[in-house]
Amino acid sequence: MAKLELKNLNKTYTSKIVPVKDVSLTVDNDEFLTLLGPSGCGKSTVLRMIAGLEEPTRGQIKIGDVDVTYKPAGDRNIAMVFQSYALYPHMTVYENLASGLKLRKVPPTEIKQRVAEVAEVLGLAELMNRKPGQMSGGQRQRVAVGRALVRNANVYLLDEPLSNLDALLRERVRADLKQIFADQKVPVVYVTHDQTEAMTLSTKVALLNDGYVQQLDPPELIYNHPANLFVAGFVGSPQMNLLTLPCKGRYAILGNFQVPLPNIPTVPPQIVLGIRPENVRVAQPGDTQTIQGQVYLVENLGMHYLVSVRVESSQTEAIIVRALLPTDQNWSSKNITLTLPSEDIHWFDVQSGHALVRRQMLGARG
């Protein structure tokens, strides 16, 4: 229906607390934007400003072509899932779900039907007559989600809507969300800490930190081409290996090993090498870019082991590289050789943190 546009939003609570410093975003009709960022970085605040619950200190919010910056919340036709649920304690689940529709004078039969559909999706069908006080945390969250889903809104805002659901249910609801929003063709802004969710659901991810958008890109780019150190370190679990290494000639020195530098104009004295643990492989015959070291910690992640390897080094300072390795072997205390495929290595400037090799097409800010 309409495009959502945020222009240079700023929210200042007190001179010391400025969670949103300068945020500009556009979410198109059919786009699904996920806000990612560390706890307390201002994600909810951005949503609240979009919803009209908080007035921006500066900046502009447009829905379609209308400037809604100072429009009251009720006039924006937005559906929102609150991080805190904000269920109506005096209403049953059914009434909670139906309230938004009743307000918009949707015919009763349609209300019933829509509520029933959503309740089905969220597994709330049996709880329709309960009040929020008599439900489990996950059930409450589902009601909160349901309350937004039944609506026919111009913009959907979802603030960590699935955080208290079990994996299975979450997966199901996620699929349904995707379906519903794809059908409705409206902008969706979604906050989550679950990166799988971010990756599978969104067409675009905005990574917030320190009040600024660190990178705004499709999820693959965020994952595969982090714009800066912060993004690189934040996205992906287990975290990317980020090693600050001295440079020597066209090489970065990793313990007793050398990693060839990418094609950069000048060679800095130090550089940050980043590689995701899942890209670190056990060396196979013929691999060139290898390092050796000793396993000193093995963590079971279910599908994989997260293996921490102390790289052989003549320096006193230990260099640790973590690798995600298959569970079919026992890695403990072994000496192993690992491959760091050069196409999976990210290079960052030590000072600015910016990625050093950036494709032209990437339009991210640092």
Binding site: A51, G52, L53, P72, A73, G74, R76, N77, I78, A79, M80, F82, S84, A86, L87, Y88, P89, H90, M91, T92, E95, S99, G100, L103, R104, R147, R151
Partner: protein
């Protein structure tokens, strides 16, 4: 065995420890007067018996049945109570809503709004009688100056007007009781809910109707109950303002009871009056709460 140690029975013990002082005090102050009223009501004890109690069974109640003055005062009280409690509720709710807003100087306005409740009834009753005086009263003075009337209205001399004036004074005096109570209730409603509801598309009236009212209901009920009891027992304001006149038009039950006991020294009959009034009140409250429960059961979510 388990029962003795169960969490529940511990809770019981704590509950009773917490309740005991309050219940004892209530018992101490209320039980004796109430029971004594019941006891005295089956005796005749007045000037005729030289104030000695003489058992007379239900005589007092029989006499009451034919006592037009009592029934008339009961009616006057009902009119007074209904009118004043209803207006106070509406007005009090309105004022509470205004006071609940954030604006500059809110503290002063809140304090002002409580002011009428803070003025001593005995004194302010006099002031009201004076304000409504047909010659020196400012009400008439203002109306005259505005040219709305030609001669002073005899506010306290006309049965209907006198009742209205008394109701007005009472509403003025006790609306703050309701508004401050409701204000506290309003303040305890979480902002979240309004936010969620406004995002859902609710306008001001709708959030009032569907969030404020239902969540404020406990406080509304308490305020109404107390005002109901107080208004039904209204004494000093009317005593000072009209003395029950003109022609008994504003004589309320407690005025009559007070006269019976304190001035006519007709203790037995006075006690019977108390008992009957008391029972009527209990019945009224019981019926009201029954209806309310039924209504609430029928329309879930609504008030």
């Amino acid at each position: 065995m388990t029962n003795l140690h169960s969490l529940r029975s511990r809770e019981q013990r704590t509950a009773w420890i917490l309740l005991t002082p309050a219940l004892l005090l209530l018992l101490f102050v209320f039980a004796y007067p109430i029971l004594r009223a019941f006891w005295l009501s089956v005796f005749t004890r007045n000037l005729g018996t030289e104030l000695q109690p003489v058992f007379s069974g239900l005589d007092n109640y029989v006499r009451m049945a034919g006592d037009g003055r009592f029934w008339q005062s009961l009616w006057a009280t009902t009119v007074f109570t209904t009118a004043s409690v209803l207006s106070e509720l509406l007005l009090g709710l309105g004022i509470a809503l205004v006071l609940n807003q954030a604006f500059f100087g809110r503290g002063i306005v809140r304090t002002t709004a409580i002011l009428p409740w803070a003025l001593p009834t005995a004194l302010i009753g006099l002031a009201w009688a004076w304000i409504f005086n047909d010659q020196f009263g400012i009400v008439n003075d203002i109306l005259l100056r505005l040219g709305l009337i030609q001669t002073g209205i005899n506010w306290l001399g006309d049965p209907t007007l006198a009742m209205s004036a008394a109701i007005f004074a009472d509403v003025w005096k006790t609306t703050p009781f309701i508004s401050i109570l409701l204000l506290a209730g309003l303040q305890s409603i979480s902002k979240d809910l309004y936010e969620a509801y406004s995002v859902d598309g609710a306008n001001t009236w709708q959030s009032f109707r569907n969030i404020t009212l239902p969540l404020l209901l406990p406080q509304i009920l308490i305020a109404v109950l107390f005002r109901f009891a107080q208004a039904f027992g209204i004494f000093d304001l009317i005593a000072v303002m009209t003395g029950g006149g003109p022609g008994g038009a504003t004589e309320v039950v407690s005025l009559y009871i007070y006269s019976t006991v304190m001035r006519y020294l007709d203790f037995g009959y006075g006690a019977a009056l108390v008992v009957v009034t008391f029972l009527i009140l209990i019945a009224a409250v019981a019926i009201a709460s029954f209806l309310l429960n039924k209504y609430r059961a029928r329309t879930p979510g609504a008030i």
